[in-house]
Structure formats: C-alpha cells, structure tokens
C-alpha cells in the first residue's frame, strides 16, 4: 500500500501578533512550521505504516526552503519526500495548487491513499484536498477523525460533521482530509533523524510534471486577490467595574440591549 501525505509550510503564528495601535500584523522574523493539521495527516499515514506496512511519501509545493518541512517529516518516519518547486508555481490559488499536487500524485503513480490536513492555518480554505480528489477522480471524505481497513480494497472512516459523526465506507484509491482526533504527531526518532539528514529530496518543476507553465501558479489560477486590508477594528471594549454583583448586572443589561438570544 502506498500513501501520499500532502503538507504545507506556513508562517508560525506564534510569531504573529497584532499591533494594538495600528491593528496590523506584526511578525518578528519569519519562521515557518509544518501546518499543524498536516502533522495529523503525517501521523495518520505513519499509523498505517505501523499497522499495515504501508509506504509513505510526503509531498509539498513551495519555495526551495519548504524542503526543510519535508526533511522534518522524514525524521518522523516518512519513507520518501518530493518537493514541488518552480517560480511558475508562485501565486497559486487552491485550483492551481490542486492541479500541481494532483499532477505529482499521477507522476508518483500507484498511490492508494492521499492524506491531507483539514485545512492550512494561513489560508483556512480547506479546498485543496477536495479539489485534488476531483482532479484525480478519487472518492474522498473530509474531516476524518479515525479510519480502519475493512478489506484489501476498502476503508471505513469516521468523519466529524456539524451535527455529529458519520461512518463511511470508501474504496481505494481514496483521499481523506483529517482533523486533530486522528492522533497527536509522534516525536522524531534519532534513527530517522540521521536518515533525514542525508536524504536526497527530488525537486520537481512544472516541466517535470508535464504541466504548461500557463496552467499553474498565478497564470493558472481562477481567483485573484484584489485588495488586502486590516479587519475593521472591534468597537472599543467596555470594561465593566464594581463588585461581582454589579458587573453581572451590567453585563446582563448590555447583552439584553444587543439582543443576545437567550438573554
């Protein structure tokens, strides 16, 4: 069984804070981390490796330094990694990203399962997984919290919805996007770290994937950002004061005035 885990390198939000005066983003240094949801995806892949002896390949699209993120997954136990990097990929929207990633999965070949994190914490779109599934024509399930092999060709997955959980049966090859309940990421082992250090990570560009540079990156995107601005400032906070009873009274009145349901 061959599993591909798609990951993304994102800015570490620990370095992000909001300037209280200008209400703009302050970033000291630009450290990158693996998108937290993608670490759950890596863990899901490694669990299948432990249980079923699956081979796990990690793939990311990004600038050359995204290779560091792939190396980190190798030190967790991932078998192989591929970096998709090309100036032509810059400015990709979710469609162009899905186009590039799915081309890589086709090139890798014989992939039984693709695992993605539910969403990336910088863009929060949750679109790339399902869009890839559409392009690969794989059945898929989103927001998966656990899975189990039923037989050689089928998996049972439990997915979290707004209303509860659903248990679905899907045939391979399939794609899933996973949430935290899939399992906390393991710690890197010394053995894998040593291997990761020496590993050669292939870099594939648009030409390697057989993609026309006009079909990827900003050129291949359907959507375009026309404006970026700071969110409207939250109206100034009302600080309540007085005894606990007085504060409870004030809060009650304020909430009643703005018609909070239930108050």
């Amino acid at each position: 069984m061959h599993i591909v885990v798609c990951i993304k390198q994102v800015p570490d939000t620990k370095n992000v804070r909001i300037d209280p005066d200008t209400h703009t983003l302050v970033r000291q240094g630009v450290e990158s981390i693996i998108n937290p949801f993608d670490l759950f995806a890596v863990e899901a892949g490694l669990q299948l490796k432990d249980k079923l002896g699956a081979a796990v390949t990690a793939v990311t699209m990004g600038p050359p330094q995204a290779g560091d993120a792939l190396r980190d997954t190798l030190s967790l136990g991932v078998d192989d990694a591929v970096l998709l990097s090309d100036r032509a990929f810059a400015g990709s929207d979710t469609w162009a990203t899905a186009t590039t990633l799915s081309a890589a999965i086709r090139k890798i070949g014989d992939v039984d399962m693709v695992i993605c994190g539910k969403q990336a914490v910088d863009g929060d779109t949750a679109q790339v997984g399902p869009e890839m599934a559409a392009l690969l024509d794989f059945p898929y399930a989103t927001f998966v919290k656990s899975m189990e092999k039923l037989d050689e060709r089928h998996f049972k997955v439990t997915r979290q919805t707004d209303e509860g959980v659903e248990v679905w049966k899907l045939p391979l090859p399939m794609l899933i996007t996973v949430i935290k309940e899939m399992g906390e990421p393991r710690v890197p082992s010394l053995r894998h770290k040593m291997r990761a250090k020496k590993a050669e990570i292939p870099v594939w560009g648009a030409a390697d994937l057989g993609l026309d540079p006009n079909s990827v990156g900003l050129c291949g995107s359907f959507t375009q950002v026309v404006r970026v601005f700071s969110p409207p400032r939250r109206t100034n906070r009302i600080q309540l004061s007085g005894t606990v009873q007085e504060q409870a009274e004030q809060l009650y009145r304020h909430l009643k005035q703005v018609k909070v349901p239930g108050i």
Binding site: T24, A88, K169, F222, V225, V228, P231, P261
Partner: protein, 399 residues
C-alpha cells in the same frame, strides 16, 4: 513571478518591508528590491500609500462564453427535513446581488421526500425559482452525488454566481463542484458585493483573521463562494412570488462510490459548536474538570454550547470536539464568553469572528481582553454563579 514595483511612484519609504510576511522586500539605497520569496499575497499592495506596488494578473483563459452565464444561485442546505438557517442568510445576500446585477435568484434544493412547503420557504426569502431534485439516493449527504447533480445543473443552466454555506457540507463538496466545472472558489466569505464591472467581490479573513482579503474570479464562471454562517442577515421578503422546477436526475448523476454505514448525531448538545448562537468557553483557569459544570450550566441556560481552549483539552478536562482555535473549530457565534482563558493567538484566530465577545479573567493583562467587547476582571468562580443568578432572576426562576 512576484509583486511589481512602479519605481516612478515608489518613495522608498520602507513601509512595505515591514508588512511582508515572507520577508521578501528589502530596502536598498534608492529603491526597494523584491526577492524570489514573494508569495504574491498582496499585503504590500494595500499598504503602499503611493500605489507603487501591484500584483501581476491571473491568466485570462478562454473568456468567450462568460456572457452566457447569468443569474445568482444559492445551494439550499437541507438536513433531515429542514432548511438550514444559513440558506435563509444566503438567499437574503443573494437577493441583493441579483438585484444589483438585474438577474434572477434561484435556490437549488437536493434531498428526499421534500415537502412543497420547503420550496415556499425558500421563495419567502427571495428566491425567484427553486430547482428541486428529490431522490432516495439524496436522503443523506455524500460528496459525489451532491456534487454530480450540482455540476450537471450548472452545465445546463449556467449561473454566473453560486453561493453555499461554509458548513461541514458546503466546505466538503463545493470544492469538488468548483474543480469539476473548472472555476474559482473562495472559502468562508464574510462579505459579498458586486464591483463596478459586475464581478462578485468576495471578502474573507486570511492569516487567521488578522487581515481581510477581497478576491475576484474574473475569467471563469460561475463565480463560487462558500459563506460563513451567521454573518449575513436573513431577511424575509413578504409576498414574494417564485416558481418551482422539479428536475429528474438520471441514474448516472446518482452513482456513488461512498457507502454511508452510520450517522450518529451528537448526543452532547453542548458540543455542537458551529451551530450555536452562544458559546461559553473555558481554559486552564477552570483548574479542574468538574468546574466545566459551571460553564455547562450557563451554556444550558442560554441554549448554547461549551467550548474550550487547547490547554483545557490537553489537561483532559473536556473532549477535543469542544476545542476552539487553530487546531480545533473556528466559530463565529453571536455571543462568545471566554472564561478563565488567557487568549493565546491560536485560540483567538478560532473565535474572533464572533459578534460579541465577553472575557472573564482575573488577570487584567490577559490578551483575551484585547479582542473583547466586554471585559470582566473578576474571579470566574464568583462571577459566573452571580451571572447565572442574574439570568434566573429575570426569568423568575429560583437560583
């Protein structure tokens, strides 16, 4: 490809170097330089007072048949017999867009044993026409059947705009629809408008809600967006008239590779975070698991849900399904009460879209107060019971 600098307009003031999240802009003596690290995010473009920065354009593609697409569509979310509230909100938002464009507004209703009253309900929120597909295979949601049908309807009828709720259903299958019809999709929008040249302006939070981005889909149709629930206001249109068109789905639209084995509704009402109008959340300040009972009581009184910070979940005080924040749920209720939680950025990004935020914390320096609409500096174990008492008094209940 990277951001474009108009050197005639650039005053080399350096403001853009600080806002670039990639650290790709450096200040040279007489000009700024943009490195290959540029991710084309556009943050610098809006910051520049001198309009010296711009982004290259998306591919123009075959734009020939764009004019053939007309009308605004709303995917009406039907769950076990009822229309989800987000569909009322979307019809109201869609009505305004349709009026601005001078085109009709349609609702698409998929399900089984669909009562005629449901179509009437959609019309009463402004739909001019309701396309109904009723089939036993559509009784439960599955990505492939729902997507196939919507894709076929889009190919036949060619709407220019399609909106769906950013719910667990909409965010799951709408990307498949967009990819299948080869068009753009913007996730989790909080504002929609029509530009001067008739394009859908889709505004959404990015970078965890720290910035807002307005996005367009210029060269493909339909322009598709999922919209965050509870943001748009539902406005009934009394006396509005509309028609209903029943569409028969051929078998090939209904073929699925997914088998639904079980649907288990959440038994714990307080865990239905994304649906709740009120969420009461607790953090490490609650000190022990039993104390979440206090928040459950308050949430219960307000018919709300109970949330938690990552800290409280990691302590094992409450199930992970309650976690709000970066690795948990993103919520935007009408009222969010943050009780005994500090307000780490990873928590704040998951709840700052809430309409009213109340922070209750002993520490006046806690960062949660920075995003609060109302701040209560008090011991939560004194304040929460008092607040519960106050609500009960109003209702004439004994505390």
């Amino acid at each position: 490809m990277k951001a474009i600098v108009d050197r005639k307009k650039c005053t080399v003031c350096g403001v853009c170097t600080d806002v670039c999240p990639m650290g790709a802009i450096s200040l040279k003596e007489t000009e700024i330089e943009i490195s290959d690290d540029c991710s084309l995010c556009g943050m610098c473009v809006d910051t520049c007072e001198f309009a010296a920065l711009s982004l290259p354009q998306v591919g123009t593609g075959p734009a020939a048949d764009i004019a053939a697409y007309s009308g605004v569509w709303v995917f009406a979310e039907w769950r076990s017999g009822t229309i989800h509230k987000v569909s009322h909100e979307l019809l109201s938002a869609g009505r305004l867009l349709a009026n601005k464009r001078g085109v009709p507004l349609a609702a698409v209703l998929l399900g089984h044993r669909l009562d005629g009253a449901l179509s009437e309900e959609l019309i009463s929120y402004g739909a001019d026409v309701v396309y109904v597909v009723d089939h036993p295979e559509l009784a439960g949601f599955r990505d492939d059947t729902y997507a196939n049908i919507l894709v076929e309807l889009i190919r036949r009828k060619r709407p220019e705009i399609l909106l769906a709720g950013a719910t667990s259903i909409g965010r799951s299958f709408i990307p498949r629809v967009a990819a299948s019809v080869r068009t753009g999709l913007t996730a989790d929008c909080t504002d929609l408008d029509i530009s001067e040249d008739g394009l859908l302006l889709q505004t959404r939070p990015a970078f965890g809600g720290n910035v807002m981005a307005t996005i367009v889909c210029p060269n493909s149709r339909p322009q598709m967006a999922t919209v965050r629930p509870k943001v748009m206001k539902p406005v009934p249109v009394p006396g509005h008239k509309g028609s209903v068109e029943l569409v028969t789905a051929p078998e090939e639209w209904l073929r699925s590779r997914v088998e639904v084995l079980e649907v288990i509704p959440e038994a714990d009402k307080t865990a239905k975070l994304t649906e709740a109008d009120v969420i009461v959340s607790g953090g490490r300040g609650l000190r022990k698991p039993e104390n979440f009972k206090l928040l459950e009581d308050l949430a219960g009184l307000l018919n709300g849900a109970v949330g938690a910070s990552r800290g409280a979940v990691e302590e094992g005080w409450i199930a992970p399904s309650h976690q709000v924040g970066q690795t948990g749920r993103t919520v935007a209720p009408i009222l969010y009460m943050a009780v005994g939680l500090a307000g780490a950025i990873q928590h704040v990004v998951g709840m700052q879209g809430s309409r009213i935020i109340v922070a209750v914390n002993r520490d006046p320096q806690a960062p949660i107060f920075d995003v609060a609409s109302f701040g209560v500096v008090a011991d939560l174990f004194e304040f929460v019971p008092e607040f519960i008492k106050r609500i009960r008094t109003e209702r004439g209940e004994n505390s």
